[in-house]
Symmetry: D2
Subunit: 410 residues, 4 copies
């Protein structure tokens, strides 16, 4: 029993060739009224052309939505994630994963506004992004109709797609006939490149895939030192200048770019089951993670930090797999945010040819007590003799165990 055709579809529309084809396919395949949604998440492309293209493809003015979501993106998605120090598989800063939920949320909001019965995205059927988009859609609007053209349409090859585009007068830039040597996703947090020239994980990624960073070799020969200010776990200033979240991340991206910081060449495990290889560039985020760990190192209690380190692994898995809008992610966030109330202060970071090194941290909330560590008595007196009892009781079970095992061997 095939579903009835959708009547009005909100399409995540970039203005590029692929989503333009999808737009036209929705019109021709389903006879659907298409609503385009184009978000500025800091991907570094102008949005005006997206409007023009949508108009040319027959979208009504009132059906074109173009939103600058950069501040919301950094404030409500990137920053909460950085409070967790989340890294997927020990290395990946989750730059693509964190953007999808916001796009999904906004698409659902627009669908409600315009009375659409379906949403549509341009992610392929082999990647993680389809999961992230669709879990977001379903969590927020359980009965929404989801259209994933790459899993549905009958085009058997890129050639067919382009024929369809030509037939429907979608402009194709020359270099698209020949295939691009890799594909890119980008937003204010990172850019991600994969495919073609990157497919053999034994072969070094060519320099030209990098979008966001100078190579360490090309970066300046002298270090740059910056100071990042934190309030309650979030970065709020650079070199003493207060900045909004998106402005701050933009500034850090520039520092990272210039100093060759934030490149990652990774083979990772997709949620859909296969391994893939990508090159990520997260210049500002790499600096931010180092600095956040730096400020936490003096303001966060050991128990809180160690619990966070355990939770961060789960948190990263959830985000990567698309479960941003899930009770378990929200539970972890509640725990993490609870730990950040005193994570305020400043961190100095030295940037030099790929390295972002914390070289100093200060905080009115510091738990570092210089006297405690030295011979002098600190604010809290430390009696070295206490260590004897501490060790004795920590050792007790091991001693009982040792005796049992010696007994067994005897």
């Amino acid at each position: 029993m095939p579903l009835p055709a959708p009547k009005k579809v909100v399409l995540a529309y970039s203005g590029g060739l692929d989503t333009s084809i999808i737009l036209k396919w929705l019109q021709t395949e389903y006879g659907a009224e298409v609503v385009t949604f184009t978000a500025d998440l800091g991907q570094g492309e102008e949005l005006a052309p997206a409007r023009e293209k949508a108009l040319k493809l027959g979208i009504k003015e009132e059906n074109i939505f173009i939103d600058d979501l950069r501040e919301e993106f950094v404030r409500d998605y990137v920053f909460p994630m950085f409070r967790a120090n989340a890294l997927y598989e020990g290395q990946y800063l989750l730059g693509t994963s964190i953007a999808r939920p916001l796009i999904a949320k906004r698409q659902i909001e627009i669908a409600r506004m315009v009375g659409a019965d379906a949403v549509c995205h341009g992610a392929t059927g082999k990647g993680n992004d389809q999961v992230r988009f669709e879990l977001g859609y379903y969590a927020l609007e359980p009965d929404i109709r989801v259209i994933a053209p790459w899993r549905e349409w009958a085009f058997k090859s890129r050639e067919h797609l382009l024929d369809f585009a030509e037939k429907h007068q979608i402009p194709i830039s020359k270099d698209k006939r020949g295939e691009a040597p890799f594909s890119v996703d980008a937003n204010l947090l990172h850019s991600s490149s994969e495919g073609k020239v990157l497919e053999d994980p034994a072969v070094e990624a060519p320099e030209f895939v990098h979008q966001r960073t100078l190579s360490p070799e090309d970066a300046p020969d002298t270090p740059t030192v910056i100071t990042i200010g934190f309030e309650r776990g979030d970065a709020v200033s650079v070199n003493g200048e207060a900045m909004s979240p998106a402005t701050l991340l933009t500034a850090l991206n520039q520092y990272g770019h210039d100093n060759g910081i934030g490149r990652l060449d990774l083979v990772e495990n997709r949620f859909v089951g296969m391994k893939s290889r990508g090159v990520y560039e997260t210049p500002g985020g790499t600096i931010l993670l180092a600095a956040h760990r730096g400020i936490e190192s003096i303001t966060l209690d050991r128990g809180a930090m160690h619990l966070k380190d355990e939770l961060a692994v789960k948190y990263a898995h959830l985000l990567y797999n698309g479960f941003w809008f899930s009770p378990e992610r929200e539970m972890l966030q509640a725990a993490i945010d609870h730990s950040q109330t005193k994570v305020s202060g400043t961190v100095r970071v030295k940037l030099y040819k790929g390295n972002a090194t914390v070289i100093g941290r200060e905080s009115p909330n510091s738990l570092y007590d210089q006297e405690l560590v030295t011979f002098e008595d600190g604010a809290v007196a430390y009696d070295q003799k206490d260590a004897a009892g501490f060790i004795k009781l920590n050792a007790l079970r091991l001693r009982v165990l040792g005796k049992r095992d010696q007994r067994g061997e005897g």
Copy 2:
């Protein structure tokens, strides 16, 4: 009820001033026969002087034990830890933590050989090392008497200590009268510096505290690329040349040193309860971790890797806190080692001014399947339509939840 005086004590003896004072103190305080144990763990000091000094301080030839433990150290302690990708508080490679259990184990072995009733170490009463030594002692020999002079003796200041040394004709190098600007622990895996000039975490660590690495600024302007071979999770060759564990780590240390790799300036949480600031240099280990993650990325299944990432946090806590010889560390090791049977292959790592970047990985056991990722059918066919069902069922609970919550709001 004070314990009776120990009769024969195995002392972890470096040959330096402090452990020489301890040696003499054991003799004078307890009238004990002292057995010195000096281990070569790759700390980079000659051992011959330790023998001479011990003789001078009245130790009998048969009571002097000097062992080259470098191969055992790397093979049975460092490598198992690297199979786990263990990092304490997200950053520290545990170079000091991993050496203590081996020293403790060897001291106990010697105590059994010579019939000693006590063991003694030179760690202070404020640090982690006392815990690590003593938990090792007690786990392996539950009834052993443990002497920790820094917690026991009556010296009230460094001055008193030096007076005692002078009185007992222990040679004091001139710079020891004035205090050293920081203290150092070193072995084949790393060197660690802390104290004095490092005590203010707001102030950058001076260049002169670094022992093992050129600064990135002083490292060569051109990258070095090396190939590391792995078998079952352990590194076995560099640039195609098979090497023993200690030889291999020594070689990587040289590469790391030359390229300014492996520096870490960290405020960490000690097991005994306070924060401390240290500078670590782990040149070879930093390269090794990157390379091990690289070979795992193509040979380890996702389920195994994600479980490992969760276990690694606990594993690092156990090691840092001194629980190497504990059932729970052994359980984790059993799980981790089980995952490593196919972790074999080669990784190319680019070394450049502080960066150790994986640029290629190859393995006969690779799980990376180029065809699976692309449009073509792989060894295992992938049907994009499967993704629809996969997402639908992953979303099901979120949809039910979404409907419930909408109901609640309505």
Copy 3:
């Protein structure tokens, strides 16, 4: 592109109506040669009729496989799971989950023996069992063709199915025309009932759904005390009589049955995304879990036990979801099994009207040290003064924190 029809299919065949229909459907739909596999997992049905029915339905003698897998089931599946003390959602003893992997494994073995190109099971499209069977098939034989009739065939109702059965002369017992008031799965570990009369979770399960246990009300008015012997984590004797794994579980089942032990009425979360309500009866297993925890309580070190308690949650999730044949389950098993080498001794359990209460435990490997707990000195001396230092250092970080927070408020 539909797959070519399978030529030879190994069917998990119970001899009942549903799998007989599947058998005939495989023959008629695909023209496939059907190989039947009927396992005795202790479900309590005779297997001879399954052979007769298969013959009647045209299966060749050499294509009928009937295996008594009871010992393998308990030894290699049930016992390893009980070493983990696995409970799904805090309560469910995983009786169905643990049987599926063994059936899957044996089907694959038979498929290899007879040269079959497909396997088939009778689990529905809404449950967990389809997942458990198929993950098992695919893990062991990645290219196997899997046929899941309930997801594939065109029958739209139970009526249609029965018409098909009648047309193909499959005998239908009278009570099958009217629908059964609930469905049952059973094996040596448990029976599970669900559906129809159990569907409203607000309504008490009727007494007649219970298969394996007297109700506590009907159980004897006097307790029965039994002694269970353990070796290395596995039960090996009851009341001093050594027994094979399956014999032992059978004996415990009888004790449990008679004393009304092991009933569970549960609403649980299926892997496929919805909640379902079932009634489980695990008489022997409930006794076994209590006894295993009892013997562990005196033979297992705290560190091992606490780690096990954390791992058990993950382990249960993996088993429930069908990931028995996965690297991560095997890793956890390696850790768990490592902990069990000294888990030997005897436990006395009192059985009375639904209660299985441990009332005594003894072991040559006991870590319980009566002297340690009392005022006297134990095998390992305990100095109460050590507790002061133990507490002081455990409190240190909390004190520093308390001072910081007071400072902040001041």
Copy 4:
């Protein structure tokens, strides 16, 4: 350097022999002014005698504090813990652990009110309670002086203690000269018995140690069914009658008592390193845990429940070890509480001779969807074909792995 004598000490005073001795010892040993604090936590003893005894022992009227903390205890300590479904070592409901932090907090509050410089408790040097009290004290008042007489005084035997009591005219009931056959701790949540007659874990606990429950054998021969109402994770009514937290727990205790529910005979691992054996009775709590799991089973999403099940293990460890007032416990609580906002509804529990069995659950927030489970379409449509894709992608990595391993063996 011994600490100066405390001037004013807040003593946790039960009015019993031991804390009366402590009271007198504080006066004579230190010349300290003693402030007594006696809490009603539902231990079932009258408090008036404590006041009289304190007066007799020379405590000034204004230095006697007697507080009924039952409501605060259940509302702010017991209920948050039950939201977590916390069980220590799989079985213990933490009845003693959860009371200590509240007593510690109140002692500190009183110390501030009266300007005391020290607090004192009567817990021994071998148990967990000393840790729980003192971690609470130090977390809330980092500089407080803590006096733990059992670790400090010179009495070498019970005889000496009693001589001291006699000398200071502390009344000794006759049965105290001969020693009690076991010791008891009690509050509204549970009673705990240990020592003497319970010390051999091989020997069944005698019936007479039980304080709070009829034995199952003595309980009525007919079941009692009760209905418990929940709001946001907390029990709020019994059989439709709204009750305050303490009233409700008292009512459940009576039901539990009458039906022989909540006994536990356990060998557990103490934080201070040894194993001990205790008998716990938690009649109302045992019913409450079953009911809470019951209401969660229909109102809590799978992701939230599974995360909770993992966090509950850590949470229980923290509580048992005395870390109630720690950032990590608060973080876990934040996560747990976040999950409970919709955990409302009613649960029916059948009580019968030791069994507390959930037999029905209902909620306006139910996530159980009867239609989803059956063949009919539910509120959220379920397409059985989706299961095929779900399984295929879950199996993908296992298939790739299977092929790799077959390759390796070939």
